[in-house]
């Protein structure tokens, strides 16, 4: 029996190999086999985590792109109208899975790739894209290392050093803070990096920096540490899963200091967790809800009408900043395709650096050094725990 099955497996291996190449090679011709119309197809790759540590955030980012795709499903490139198809590859928030996810998108014949949510996977996949000459637009990967020293990776968000400085300035301006407690997740380059830049700006001598290991549930000891240190602000730019627990435990332990965080916390998960609790939360973000009313109304409508989208958004229609960023990234990609007048990745790459777009999160343009977005301000928001909504506080720059 076993021998028989072994042979069966061997047959399957061979068969699937051929089926795989036969089946997919049809797509390369640009035949509209998976579109809704007879238009030729242009593919935009979505390189985002849909599982793993950053799965939730990645999905919210995708929502923005999907909504944009619903609003604008076609694009005119050099006189021809193309249907835009989003191709997805889940990078599982894992660096060792990133290269093959990236290769999937390249193999599917994408013209440009958007992503990712986090920086680690972007760095890991960067060379795969580079080898294929694929232009990539980072959406919310804020680590400087993503774009540094390469010419194919761009991004539309601000960078960690900027955000860290903004938050440090905000802490000093708003709360006259002299001591800060920084809590990052061990092994997470996002929170670790942001904490580092925050401490650089705030003064490392006045900070206590700690890291919790993955899978931590009990944050009460860290809250106790912050109290014992006598901190004025609690800085914890961690992922939303941990954030929900931190907020809950901060509230039940009665921490008397404001919590500061970065763009990841601009999410309904935080609002839900904080609603009705005695906590003060401030975040910096790319996008202020209400800044583009028609976008807000439109995406809420769409999320409410699509059960899957609603589930991916955590069950309600609160718009995450990353969704707005995803939305802008999509339009930026269309703009690039139009300017390039071609669907070839190489052509898009050649002109991408000069592309500009006026999005819901502000005007987007790339600098000439690394292809980073030119952004000089971030929005600071406060969580209104009684209504469960974000309240705009101010725009904060580095100075």
């Amino acid at each position: 029996m076993r021998k028989f099955l072994t042979i069966l497996f061997a047959c399957m291996l061979v068969l699937t190999l051929f089926a795989g190449c036969g089946g997919n090679s049809g797509n390369d011709q640009g035949a509209a086999d998976d579109g809704d119309t007879d238009l030729p197809i242009v593919r935009i790759g979505v390189f985002e985590p849909q599982s793993g540590d950053n799965g939730a955030g990645g999905k919210q980012e995708i929502l923005g792109m999907q909504y944009a795709n619903v609003v604008t499903p076609t694009v005119d490139i050099a006189g021809t109208t193309y249907e835009v198809v989003l191709e997805y590859a889940d990078n599982q928030s894992a660096n060792d899975k990133a290269p093959s996810a990236a290769q999937t998108l390249i193999s599917k014949g994408c013209s440009i790739v958007l992503g990712s949510y986090g920086s680690g996977v972007s760095i890991a996949a960067s060379d795969t894209f580079k080898d294929a000459g694929m232009p990539v637009v980072g959406v919310t990967c804020t680590n400087p290392a993503v774009t540094a020293g390469n010419s194919h990776y761009f991004r539309i968000c601000f960078l960690d050093p900027f955000q860290g400085t903004v938050l440090a300035n905000f802490a000093k301006d708003q709360f006259k803070a002299s001591k800060a407690y920084c809590l990052a997740k061990l092994g997470d380059d996002y929170s670790g990096g942001l904490c580092n830049f925050f401490m650089d700006a705030f003064g490392e001598a006045n900070c206590r920096y700690e890291m919790f290991p993955e899978g931590t549930n009990d944050y009460s000891t860290y809250v106790a540490n912050a109290k014992a240190y006598g901190a004025d602000v609690f800085f914890s730019p961690v992922s939303t899963e941990a954030a929900a627990l931190i907020i809950d435990q901060v509230a039940s332990q009665g921490l008397d200091m404001p919590i500061l965080a970065g763009d990841t916390w601009d999410s309904n998960v935080i609002l839900n967790a904080a609603k009705g609790k005695n906590v003060e939360i401030f975040v910096t973000t790319f996008y202020q809800e209400g800044g583009a009313p028609s976008f807000d109304a439109g995406i809420k409508n769409w999320i409410n009408s699509d059960a899957t989208a609603k589930a991916n958004n955590g069950g309600d229609d609160m718009i995450a900043a990353v969704s707005a960023m995803g939305y802008d990234a999509y339009y930026l990609a269309l703009e690039a395709l139009k300017v390039a007048g071609s669907t070839k990745p190489g052509d898009v790459l050649a002109i991408l650096g000069g592309v500009t777009y006026d999005g819901v999160s502000g005007a987007i343009a790339f600098d000439t050094v690394n292809g980073d977005a030119v952004r000089s301000v971030a929005f600071v928001k406060r969580c209104d725990t009684s209504s469960g909504e974000w309240v705009f506080i101010k725009q904060q720059g580095v100075n």
């Binding site: 047959c11 795989g20 849909q50 290269p99 020293g149």
Partner: protein, 389 residues
Amino acid sequence: MENKRIQNLTSVVFLLALFALVIFLEQVIKPTDTMAMLLTVTKKSAVYALVAVSMNLLNGFTGLFSLGQAGFMLMGAYTYAIFTIESERRDSVYYYFDQVVNVSLPETLGGALGSVGWLVGVLLAIILGGLVAAGVAYLIGFPVLRLKSDYLAIATLGFAEIIRAIFQWRMLGPVTNAANPLKSYVRLSDFKIGTGDAAINISTFVAVLLAVVCIGIIVMLINSSYGRAFKAIREDEVAAEAMGINLYKHKQIAFCISSFFAGVGGAMLAMFANTVQANNFKSNMTFEILLIVVLGGIGSVSGSCIAAVFFIFASEWWLRGLDSGRFLGIFAPGIFRNGFRLVIFSVGIMLVILFFRRGLMGDKELPYYVKWIKDKLTTQKPKAGEANG
């Protein structure tokens, strides 16, 4: 004796054909082709095959149930990366720290000896990765190898976690870059013959070659007198001891060698993944490798290799359609949404374990089945022959 020679010859011919095929495919397939995925997953399969075989050496051939693989891979990956980072990009890698290791083996040797030196430097770094892993395994072995079965398993699992925590410790940041990724070191895609557009890419070939050489060494070890001693320990520790086999010494040897190759595998994984971060070497990685070993058959080297190929090809390529709405021509975005691939995949593994409990190959090797098919072929309908392709 004659039989053996034919068998060896067949293996050599098979391997040469494999190499030729890999090199050929690598030249034919462009990065933007659909089939480029084949190259990517082949590289990763090569890494996993090596790591799975190294785990099989311990779990399958020596009967030591160890779950420390991810920890040893981590050490190999870090050692390799640290010693091959381009010196001019070190500052950007160690963004938050002042790095203490300032040696790039390929650069130093490459400067002195040209491209041969570069290659030697890379190889040295890989071997160094293995040696560090083996060295730590040697130390861990003192307390751990006296433990039995499950206890050994959790103790090694625990050590892997401890190692991970140490590498993430910020006090060691100047060496390990703490929790931040290491990058800008020599990667698989740096393996090219020539420069510029005319360069011949041999990255997949290098990955496969490295894996084949390492697995080959493990197979030679298994077939040697020491390999027999390992099997004796697996079968019956008391009897093995009564045959004059020093249990501790032999377990230690198996443990160190297995860890050495896990370290080499880790270095290769680093070369493949372009970045190294301790966070990726979690116990889940060990479990994935264990699944490969069990699926392939505990005590079968070729089983591990085949299972590794299946595992990686399926999880990273073939089943991807399950995540994005379309699979085998069926379009059902409601069911085939993200996460479905992993569900199907894990259910598949579950079924194999329940109904196929000795794995794909049991403890037999490929030649056994080739012979079996040949026997079938001569006695029965000739149709089964195609399965061998």
